[in-house]
Homo-oligomer: 201 residues x 4
């Protein structure tokens, strides 16, 4: 049976992953508390929860982006073995943990909670990049993925974890600055893709 | 890899969306609290939660209707690019936020909570209409969608957000009237479709 | 677009329904509370929650059986229109509400909570039978479903709601007897199928 | 209709199972509590929750492994009857119950809570092995599964429940030793597969 474990399709890996992503995206809203106030006090009580809105939206955006990346990578990964299943579970572990640091950050908003939050997102990015690198090295990708594309995507996948790690350092100087650091991820990824393409010609 | 992102199938977009819809529909019931009363006090304690039933049923109905619309639109959308993935995530953001204003409305039932609730549903409708409009303009729809159908569906999609926005105004006059305003959505959509069809001949 | 709503496949209806079933089956466990006791008091504190185990297992079993029935019916339903989508949402509404009366019953175990619980399950059965009846009458079923099978399944679908309604009456005499009444459902369904088959020859 | 219940595809069984697995994997994080402390007390308050991390990671790993096994087995199971649907529901019952003993173990970490936890995982393994054994005996597996593979997988499936049962005994001597006993599962499964393969030649 051990040998039977290498299979052609990745449909159920997609299904499990989509399930985890859908639940994480939806659980994030549970951090908002219905205030225990009288009717006139509700607007003020909700205004107190505004910091939660920042961590909620940031988490939703980053998780959403990672769903797109996962979706994108698995369009090219057409075979798997047992190790790839493990690596996908490791990735889902990091994703499914996110609601906890998101709520911590939303409530406390300290340097310490930002560190936990940024580390969690770093692990998300690192485990997905590891998964891609393994799939590409083992030849589980389809024929559209050549050597250069394999490397391009691997390096691109490291940009997001590095930015989150840098943001932990930035947070020692200014917490507000650290909060906006993740905005750098998308332009940096584009720059890297352009730079790499140019070197190709 | 950037260019690889335009793909033919929308299967996993469907899967993620169905997951979020299923979870939102099921989470809505969590707003009901098992009362902390002795056995004889349970009927009275549950009767106190009756207002929650209204917001529960309204949310279930509107979310269910939007699932039908999403299902319907994606039967015609057969290609996607990165922007469409973003727009679908934006739509899911608005859907996944719904349990919070639903519970707020059910507990407080004030003009303020109705405003939040109606605004959230307006964003749901606007983001889905934006998604459709983009897909149609970029030619991601199948051959059954001609110019007229594209416009018909776009305008029809704006009816629901407009009705919810109008209901915020209605709520300044009468809250009970605002609560029943959404009933107008389905007949208004039918009227518009009929009017448009007639102009076609 | 209105006419476009009649479609061939029921894949996404399956997907949404499976999602709601999976979440309801998993949410049921959330009614169990980690006791707030010291380490030696845990066994006793858990023993206090034994009544919850009954309502948990009964709900899991009945929801599971309804998933099988839904799965079974949708193997024969191969087309749909807008009304069928509505009827499926109505069915999912009744299913997704179940965790609440399940917890109420597990905690209070009174005649009143059994009534709520049994009524909820009656609505589950009635809405699914209505859905089947509509699909069969509109000719949305495949060629293996003839007139007799259509009626056989419709009547069989009414057995479970009737048993639950009867159990509400039984509960006025003996609550324990009411709790075991649902066991009658499976043998009664078999009897009806056998009786109907015999009449056929 | 009763006879109609034997079907060719197992797609929706996969879908329901993937849904339950995805939700269980994601619900496990809900056991972590956002501490009710001032900002400086957060690191210490989180450190108090470290035991939860052990039960969280162990549960995630074992549930993940069982998803892989389920995924693997259902690649070979190509037909089903009503009994197989029941056995799959029984398996999902044991899986969906896991968050509760996981949280109990994480909070109390006593011999009693380990017993509950290990028993639950034993039931997970036993019900899945029963499911496999039934499918194989009824000939629902594909042509790659011969008599020897059928037996190999059945016996292999019993290793995990036996290890968990043994760990309950181990816990009477040393709780820490019991916690690491599950590590034996994977090497023991490999040893068994190797031993069986050798006897084959």
């Amino acid at each position: 049976m051990v040998r039977l474990l290498e299979g052609e399709d990745t449909d159920r890996m997609d299904a499990l992953s989509d399930g985890v992503f859908a639940i994480v995206l939806t659980l994030l809203v549970l951090q908002f508390q219905v205030p225990d106030a009288d009717a006139t006090g509700v607007p003020a009580a909700l205004a107190d929860q505004r910091p939660l809105l920042f961590s909620y939206l940031l988490s939703f955006a980053v998780v959403g982006l990672y769903w797109i990346v996962h979706h994108n990578l698995f369009q090219r990964i057409v075979r798997h073995d047992r190790v790839l299943l493990y690596l996908n579970l490791l990735f889902l572990l990091t994703v499914s943990f996110l609601p906890f640091p998101t709520e911590l950050l939303g409530i406390y908003g300290t340097h310490f909670t930002w560190t936990l939050y940024a580390l969690n997102f770093s692990f998300v990015g690192l485990s997905l990049t590891l998964l891609w690198w393994y799939a590409y090295r083992r030849g589980f990708t389809d024929e559209t993925v050549d050597h250069r594309t394999g490397r391009l995507v691997t390096v691109r996948g490291l940009i997001s974890p590095v930015v989150f790690l840098v943001s932990v350092g930035v947070a020692t100087v200014s917490l507000s600055l650290a909060f906006v650091t993740p905005i750098l991820i998308v332009p940096l990824q584009m720059l890297w893709a352009r730079y790499y393409e140019r070197g190709r010609e």
